[in-house]
């Protein structure tokens, strides 16, 4: 089988075209956002918000409003509740995050179980790339474009917020507003990625690409390019692998990203494990010229 056929054959199916578009959009938007999340230390927050949007999405489905509305509402509700539990009890933040998001996720599961047309909604949990409809794809494109545009236009402010919020305040910006904007975009991104890999695996797409790029460069501007490129490549490779190996598409996409991270973690020129070991050995060697 030649390469062209290898790439084009799956695309003769409409559902595969939609799946590819969905996974590429989700992977790029998630990867962009992940650069800030891993640097601020919001990985757990990403996990929490992406799970906590579930009841919002289900309620939006029941009421018949766009998923994004319910997702953003419950995203902020989760962040608010986490802050409330942390600040008004002796429970620490990680526990507060664990309590709030699992409870909201459970609420989502219960809501799904009492909602007719269950099959549709269970796809949100594990993702169903191959079952993305044209209407789903339209929503994904719109939300993805909005999130992408805001992130790119305001990227320098978000970076300032991540690096030194006190300075942001001192020059008259509003760091609280910037933080809230990032959380809102996180909720929107979760909706985009829900269709692709499902609630459970969204967090992977929200952390792995940023962490991978972070090991490859010391320039934030380059991270913002490297992360989406790696993420999109992994998403494409993962989808094709799932097609030819007949495995779960969402799982395959995340597995590929995990494999890419592992490779970078080991072999990144400056921050990779192997490179650092060799450098350390060389340094030790140069200290003992007699040996």
């Amino acid at each position: 089988m030649n390469l062209i056929v290898f790439f084009l054959e799956p695309l003769s199916y409409d559902f595969m075209v939609r799946a590819l578009a969905t996974t590429l959009i989700a992977s790029i938007v998630c990867a962009l956002l992940s650069c800030w999340l891993v640097l601020i230390g919001w990985s757990l927050m990403g996990d929490a918000v992406s799970h906590a949007v579930l009841p919002g999405v289900v309620l939006a489905y029941i009421v018949g409003v766009p998923f994004a509305v319910g997702a953003v509402a419950f995203g902020f509700l989760a962040v608010g509740l986490i802050g409330l539990v942390r600040d008004t009890s002796r429970v620490k933040e990680d526990a507060a995050i664990g309590i709030v998001f699992t409870t909201l996720f459970a609420l989502g599961l219960v809501l799904i179980s009492i909602t007719p047309s269950q099959t549709d909604l269970f796809h949100i949990i594990f993702g169903n790339l191959l079952g993305v409809s044209w209407a789903d794809l339209t929503q994904i494109i719109v939300l993805g474009a909005i999130t992408f545009t805001i992130l790119v236009i305001k990227r320098r402010d978000f970076t300032l917020f991540a690096f030194d919020p006190t300075h942001a305040h001192a020059i008259g910006l509003n760091p609280k507003l910037l933080g809230a904007a990032l959380l809102g975009l996180l909720a929107l991104t979760a909706v985009v990625a829900l269709q692709a890999v499902g609630v459970v695996l969204v967090v992977a797409m929200l952390i792995i690409p940023g962490a991978t790029a972070y090991l490859l460069t010391d320039r934030f501007g380059r991270m913002l390019v490297i992360a989406p490129v790696i993420s999109a490549m992994c998403a494409g490779i993962g989808l094709y692998l799932s097609y030819y190996l007949d495995t779960a598409s969402g799982g395959m996409v995340v597995l590929t990203q995990g494999a890419a991270f592992t490779a970078v973690y080991l072999f990144s020129p400056r921050h990779g494990l192997v490179g650092q070991r060799i450098l350390a050995r060389r340094r030790r060697g140069s200290l003992e010229p007699s040996s």
């Binding site: 640097l39 236009i153 305001k154 320098r156 402010d157 970076t159 300032l160 991540a162 690096f163 030194d164 006190t166 300075h167 942001a168 305040h169 001192a170 020059i171 008259g172 910006l173 972070y214 460069t217 010391d218 320039r219 934030f220 380059r222 991270m223």
Partner: protein, 247 residues
């Protein structure tokens, strides 16, 4: 009569039940370098936060160049050099990126750097002698260089009031001397500088005046006078003879 650069009038701050600042009064004229001396928990950081408007005082007012903290922040008048612990030194930014952040208040929505911004950053880097380090990652600098990079950010910003939180912590003697010279030069150019420090013997060389803080202002005046042992004993709680205040 000139308008004071910093005017803290009767400011009281509580964190929940804890009294952090008790009717603090400090007036600082333009071009002065003032050292803020007090032990941990004496309210130094809270005073900085009050000046920047990050905490809302229970009572009292703060004026920067005669204007409200909000107005002063918007105009870029307040420059801030954070404590080392507040910064993630693995953050993937170059020295130039960090200094450029001083220009954000002067830029448009996208914070796109114009020629004037690049010039201001070049000039600021030159001023703190970090031009050769501009493209280094911020975490690769020495402690003293890191501090100077943040001072450069304030210079690029065009701040008339510079707040430095423990700039001498973890810095070697030579870097300390460089920083002291730099701050003296900036004040000679008209900047007003408030420095919190543990490093007491640097104070008389660095500062025109010193404030002894222990939740309230115990003393404010000539550094030599403020740093007399019996005065320090008040601020650092070593007043074993319990002679009462001499303020």
């Amino acid at each position: 009569m000139s308008v004071p650069s910093i005017e803290v009038r009767n400011v009281t701050v509580h964190y929940g039940e804890v009294l952090a600042l008790d009717h603090a009064n400090i007036t600082l004229d333009p071009g002065r370098v003032c050292a803020l001396v007090g032990m941990n928990g004496s309210g130094k950081s809270t005073l900085f936060k009050a000046i920047m408007g990050m905490v809302r005082p229970d009572s009292g007012t703060v004026l920067i160049n005669g204007a409200s903290p909000l107005k002063s922040r918007k105009s870029g008048a307040i420059g801030y050099v954070p404590q080392s612990e507040e910064i993630d030194w693995d953050f993937p930014l170059s020295v130039r990126d960090v200094v450029m952040m001083g220009r954000f208040g002067h830029m448009g929505l996208r914070r796109h750097a114009k020629k004037s911004d690049n010039d201001a950053v070049d000039h600021a880097l030159e001023r703190v002698e970090l031009t050769d380090y501009a493209s280094r990652a911020i975490g690769q600098l020495s402690c003293g260089q890191k501090k100077r990079a943040f001072v450069a950010r304030g210079i690029a910003q065009g701040a008339s009031v510079l707040l430095l939180d423990e700039p001498f912590a973890g810095v070697d003697k030579r870097s300390e001397a460089t920083m002291t010279t730099l701050l003296r030069e900036l004040s000679a150019d008209g900047a007003t500088i408030l420095v919190s420090t543990h490093d007491l013997h640097a104070v008389p060389i660095l500062a025109d005046e010193a404030v002894l803080l222990m939740r309230r202002v115990l003393m404010h005046g000539d550094p030599h006078e403020v740093l007399k042992p019996n005065n320090l004993a008040l601020a650092f709680g070593l007043d074993v003879l319990n002679r009462g205040t001499t303020v």
